[in-house]
Subunit: 154 residues, 2 copies
DNA sequence: TTTGACAGTTCTATTTTAGAACTATAGCCT
DNA sequence: AGGCTATAGTTCTAAAATAGAACTGTCAAA
């Protein structure tokens, strides 16, 4: 597999996987959504090697998911903040958290609970159809080739 | 990082990442949702090495995401079918496809279109709150420690 | 009896990751 | 002035994972 051009495959899943499809990147994004922004903070909460952290942050900046913003002149220091493109990854992260809650739980219960400020309740995320609003299930979906399809890939 | 015990971390995202948090596994799951079931079919559509395919399929079976079902006695041959636990990964896959459609598209348009059989329309997936039904955004969510939380992880 | 399909396993070379040490800038303390 | 600390990285070597190709075993069909 040519991982270096995976983001140009005629498949939206491949393109997403090219950007966020590895363990460390997903864990870094979790920290971002928990409002972690600084190199040392990522490093100490994840126990990731500094080398890989540096490399992954660069990649996320390169793909426009994080912005590297100075928070101190002299000495120049930067923090990493989610862009809108990065914030839009929220459904992916939440879908993964929800699946983990549902299928990988233990007797101690959930690690985190999520409150929807808008309605004030603890919630779970639900994926619905943009057209009819009903919850979506794999078996109710039919896939068609779209205009950007080249070959026999999804 | 102790990747071998990531599925026991007190964090639902980590536990999910432990199971589906790598490139090949996500691409294999895409094929599963496109109704690919057999070793040779996965191998030829993904161009994954047979070694890794074998290893990943075993892992997905071990975690209860695929079932290895015989479709021929003599010679014994098996195919790999999504369990309910595997089908429940659909929101993760669809959220990734949707993000790719939105943020990684090119001038050729979408590779695939999705039709909701229930309502008959082409749709996008939307993540909503289970309690009030409104679309969810990261900034409207407040996180609380749940009973299964041990330390300062999500 | 030979060929081909299918579902793997085994082997070596290359790439990626882990782990630790090192660099650079600047503020603060004595 | 000299040394300590904080932050944000870079560099180095060893270990682990992946790529790529060849090989194995079972059976059916020609």
């Amino acid at each position: 597999m040519k991982w270096d051009t995976l983001d140009e495959e005629p498949c939206s899943l491949s393109r997403t996987v090219a950007v966020v499809g590895d363990r460390w990147t997903l864990l870094i994004l979790r920290e971002c959504f928990l409002r972690v922004r600084r190199f040392e903070a990522f490093q100490s909460s994840l126990q990731i090697t500094r080398h890989l952290l540096s490399e992954r942050l660069k990649k996320l900046v390169r793909f426009g998911i994080l912005r590297r913003v100075p928070y101190s002149e002299s000495p120049k220091r930067y923090e990493y903040i989610l862009t809108q493109k990065g914030l839009d990854l929220y459904p992916i992260i939440m879908a993964m958290v929800h699946w983990g809650d549902t299928h990988m739980g233990d007797e101690r219960g959930r690690p985190l609970l999520h409150e929807h400020k808008t309605c004030g309740k603890l919630f779970d995320p639900v994926m619905v159809c943009s057209e009819c609003g009903e919850p979506l299930h794999a078996k109710q979906v039919h896939v068609h080739a779209g205009p950007g399809r080249r070959e026999a890939v999804g």
